[in-house]
């Protein structure tokens, strides 16, 4: 019998409940087991899907207005589901480096967030999708607020800004869905994507969606919440945010925004793409000057997702495929990078690059891992990052060569600031401070990430078969 995708959601919820009920000592383990079970189920689901079984779940929920709990699996959803379910155990395992107080609450929130994110990727009813989208926001807000770093006042301001920012954007998306409902009488994706909109309507709906997704991704100039939030969140929160949550925005462009409001006027579309490209260059320039490794990674992440967003907005097949590939690549890369930063922070108790240096001679394994993930981040051929970035740039050049030229600078700038960071943080003369070699746990996490990045870099067909 074929499995059903609803199973994943149920297991996450049950796992969250079990984690909350457990004590602080076992919470992490229960969360890890839950996420591992789901990773396995996701792989089985993938096999079922490729065999052509129906693994979707559809059930009428509310008759008036017409809303149904529909979780439908297709290539795009499945890829995102795999990204979520496979990254989550890595993220949880990576978080064992830090001892969190009230760990049961923390991991329950993490699993609940995973539930909401998986729901977002699977839902094909606009309203259910919206509900999952919002539900994902609450746990990360509390994770950042209660377990974050820095003074309470600063942290509170940062997290509230983040929350209001993202919530504000998504309310406009809700209004857009409500409007679409009045037009079509349905929230279902199949009906909405067929809705015939005039250019004027499409413009407004496109912009409403853009507010929601542009903030989440984030696209310049809606990015101001990002670096602060990444910096103040605990590492596990940062990983969830950058690894999975911002993919919700990118995924939604491909799933909802372009199919529904594809009729948008050319000028708006161009403006949005140009904004994405400005964001790439802008974030790269700031990353160049960042002295805090977490902030540097936040801006580097913003540059990368800017490229993905630009590719997604191009709207052709190459852009679509490139965006999906790069989303997966970026998910693994960014989690790896933040984990590396977290390891350094554990040893040196600092995120400032100037406090680091001389790691290579003391920890060669660590340096190797760092280098591989770094290469994947800057898109060196042979790593998975290269394939995504190349496809995206190709998609941009299909539309307009200038886009590709400007977006391409991000690769050069990216290589520059990442290598400079590597040089200052890892190389250099031996430091007086001791930097111990990676532990087994860290070895496993970094090993998995590197295997994925290189493996898919050499044989990307494994993944691309799902959606091409």
């Amino acid at each position: 019998m074929a499995m059903n995708c609803i199973l994943i959601l149920l297991i996450y919820i049950l796992g969250a409940g079990a984690t909350l009920a457990s004590n602080a000592k076992n919470a992490g383990k229960i969360a890890l087991v839950t996420s591992l079970i789901n990773a396995v189920i996701a792989l089985i689901l993938t096999a079922d899907y490729l065999n052509g079984s129906d693994i979707s779940f559809v059930q009428q929920w509310i008759s008036n207005p017409n809303i149904s709990l529909s979780f439908v699996v297709d290539g795009l959803s499945l890829t995102m589901l795999l990204l979520t379910t496979l990254l989550l155990p890595i993220i949880i395992l990576a978080s064992f480096n830090t001892l969190y107080s009230k760990a049961n609450q923390l991991y329950a929130l993490v699993l609940f967030m995973a539930f909401a994110m998986a729901g977002t990727f699977l839902a094909q009813d606009g309203l259910v999708y919206y509900i999952c989208w919002e539900l994902a926001l609450l746990p990360i807000f509390f994770i950042g607020l209660l377990w974050g770093s820095d003074e309470w006042k600063v942290r509170k301001r940062v997290m509230v800004t983040f929350f209001i920012y993202t919530f504000a954007g998504s309310l406009f998306m809700l209004a857009a869905f409500a409007y679409l409902y009045t037009k079509t009488g349905s929230f279902a994706w199949t009906d909405l994507s067929k809705a015939i909109l005039t250019t004027k309507e499409a413009n407004y709906i496109f912009l409403a969606f853009f507010l929601a997704y542009g903030i989440k991704i984030p696209v310049f100039p809606l990015h101001t919440w990002q670096a602060n939030t990444y910096e103040k969140s605990p590492t596990i929160g940062t990983m969830l945010l950058s690894g999975i949550m911002l993919k919700m925005g990118l995924y939604s462009i491909l799933r909802w925004q372009m199919p529904i409001a594809g009729n948008v006027s050319e000028n708006i579309l161009k403006t949005v793409i140009v904004l994405c490209i400005i964001g790439i260059i802008y974030a790269s320039l700031i990353a160049l000057r960042s002295e805090n490794i977490k902030r540097l990674l936040a801006y580097s992440s913003m540059a990368h997702v800017g490229l993905i967003a630009a590719g997604a907005y191009i709207g052709n097949t190459t852009g679509y495929q490139g965006a999906i590939i790069q989303m997966v690549a970026h998910g693994f890369v960014v989690v790896g990078l933040f984990y590396l930063a977290d390891i350094i922070h554990n040893r040196y108790d600092s995120y400032l690059i100037k406090d680091m240096g001389g790691i290579r001679s003391q920890a060669p394994k660590f340096t190797t891992f760092f280098l591989i993930i770094l290469f994947a981040s800057i898109g060196l051929p042979g790593t998975f990052g290269f394939i995504g970035e190349f496809t995206l740039l190709f998609a941009l050049s299909e539309k307009e060569l200038l886009y590709a030229v400007f977006a391409g600078t991000s690769i050069i700038l990216g290589a520059y600031y990442m290598l400079k960071m590597f040089q200052n943080a890892v190389l250099g003369s031996p430091n007086t401070k001791v930097f111990s070699e990676v532990t087994t746990k860290e070895y496993v996490v970094l090993g998995i990430i590197c295997v994925v990045l290189i493996g898919l870099g050499i044989y990307p067909k494994l993944l691309t078969d799902l959606f091409i």
Partner: protein, 457 residues
């Protein structure tokens, strides 16, 4: 009708119980009585009937709204058992006053005649004046009672004058007659003036712009349980009456009348939400939040008969969330002189379940998905977009974003551990916590299955 008789006898019974020295049984018996009345009310669900020359009209709408009122009163009376324990010798007065208040609320939805409407309104208002001033030794409560009484009587005056002018125009107090006359005959100018005067009074009662100024002061000064009553039962009762009148009078108004209402809604939303941002007293905060919700409910009224299920849903969601929130506020502020937001600091550490309850109640009011308040807003937005009120919806969306800030302020304060006062202890209180949890569970249920309510229509 049997509901009304049952309620009236219940109110008298309470006073009799005091006389025959059965004070301890008052609250439990009242609760049972309310359940019985609710049963009577539900039996009327599918009947359409009128009594005393069309003074009282019973139909589906009436029974639905009044069932909500009875449920709210049930909670409020239950909370009273604990709230009035220091002046338990007056419990019969307080409880019977609340039942009279419910009778007023019932008349305000079941009237078929303007006289009955006014009677209901006055019964409701006078009991509220008394309750607002019921903490006799507290100067603030005196102030609140006086303020509310003075301004409320002015509003009643306006309403009475409005009714008189409408009578002058249509020669009838009967709602059906008025509707018939206004739709078929040319109405004199003072018909419109009459309704506008009525509108002034109604806007005062639901605390909407520009007659909302009393709300924060009165909410703050009144005893906490009275504030609860005002912001839940009294508010939804006034909204229900407004809705019922709007069905008769809105069609008879000039064409651009809806613009006026839309304007009032927009300003109410803005004023309520913006003013709430800076409040550090939780009662004032809830008052302004209540003003903004009045704006939302007015929106449903503007949308007319089609939005009736959505109005009712919004009322249920708002009132139930209000009961849950106020029960927790009662719990926290049991022996505090003032109800400041700071008092909630670190509350989550002491009582995590109740802190989560209050958070959920506030999130429901803010309109976060899966809680009932979200669907309330969603239904309204969909309906409003359907009828072409785009600007109003955009403003409503923006003010909802603003509202997040002050609701979250309270939530964050509760989850602040660092500066929490470790010595603070919270008295255990079974009733407050039970009511809070039951109310929030109801909220979650109707949030998860909105059909339960919507399909009643």
């Amino acid at each position: 009708m049997s509901t009304l008789i049952a309620l009236a006898s219940l109110a008298v019974l309470i006073l009799v119980l005091e006389i025959i020295n059965l004070r301890k049984t008052i609250v439990p018996l009242t609760l049972i009585g309310l359940l019985v009345a609710l049963g009577f009310n539900i039996c009327d669900f599918n009947t359409i009937d009128s009594f005393y020359n069309n003074m009282i009209v019973v139909n589906k709408t009436t029974t639905q709204f009044s069932s909500l009122f009875i449920v709210l009163t049930f909670f409020i009376v239950a909370l009273g058992q604990s709230f009035y324990k220091e002046q338990y010798d007056k419990i019969s007065d307080y409880t019977s006053l609340k039942i009279f208040l419910l009778i007023g609320a019932y008349c305000m939805v079941a009237f078929g005649n303007m006289v009955m409407f006014f009677l209901g309104l006055e019964i409701l208002s006078i009991t509220l004046y008394i309750l607002a001033g019921s903490d006799r030794t507290n100067i603030k409560s005196n102030e609140a009672g006086m303020k509310y009484f003075l301004m409320g009587s002015f509003a009643s005056g306006f309403i009475l004058f409005g009714i008189a002018l409408i009578y002058g125009a249509t020669a009838s107090f009967d709602l059906d007659q008025i509707q018939l006359a206004s739709s078929q005959l040319a109405m004199p100018k003072w018909f419109i003036v009459g309704f506008v005067l009525l509108l002034v009074g109604l806007l005062f009662k639901i605390a909407a712009f520009p007659f909302h100024f009393w709300a924060p002061d009165v909410y703050q000064g009144s005893p906490l349980l009275t504030t609860t009553t005002m912001s839940t039962l009294a508010k939804v009762a006034a909204v229900a009456a407004f809705y019922k009148l709007s069905l008769v009078f809105f069609p008879a108004m000039p064409a651009n009348f809806s613009n006026l209402i839309a304007f009032l809604i927009i300003v109410t939303l803005i004023v309520g939400n913006v003013m709430a941002l800076k409040q550090n007293n939780i009662k004032r905060l809830m008052a302004y939040s209540g003003i903004s919700h009045a704006g939302f409910m007015l929106m449903a009224i503007l949308l007319g008969k089609q939005a009736e299920p959505h109005l009712f849903y919004y009322m249920v969601a708002y009132a139930i969330a209000g009961i849950a929130a106020f029960s927790v506020i009662l719990y926290v502020c049991q022996d505090k002189k003032e109800e400041l937001v700071i008092h909630f600091r670190g509350f989550a550490k002491h009582k995590p379940v109740l802190a989560v309850t209050l958070s959920l109640a506030l999130l429901s009011m803010a309109g976060i998905p899966i809680l009932a308040g979200f669907f309330g807003k969603l239904f309204l937005f969909t309906q409003a977009l359907n009828q072409g009120y785009y600007v109003m919806v955009v403003i409503a969306v923006i003010t909802s974003i603003i509202s997040i800030y002050y609701y979250f302020k309270v939530i964050i304060v509760m989850f602040t551990y660092k500066n929490a006062d470790a010595t603070t202890t919270y008295q255990k209180n079974f009733i407050y916590s039970t009511v809070a949890i039951i109310a929030i569970v109801i909220n979650l249920i109707i949030g998860f299955c909105p059909s339960l309510i919507i399909d009643l229509f």
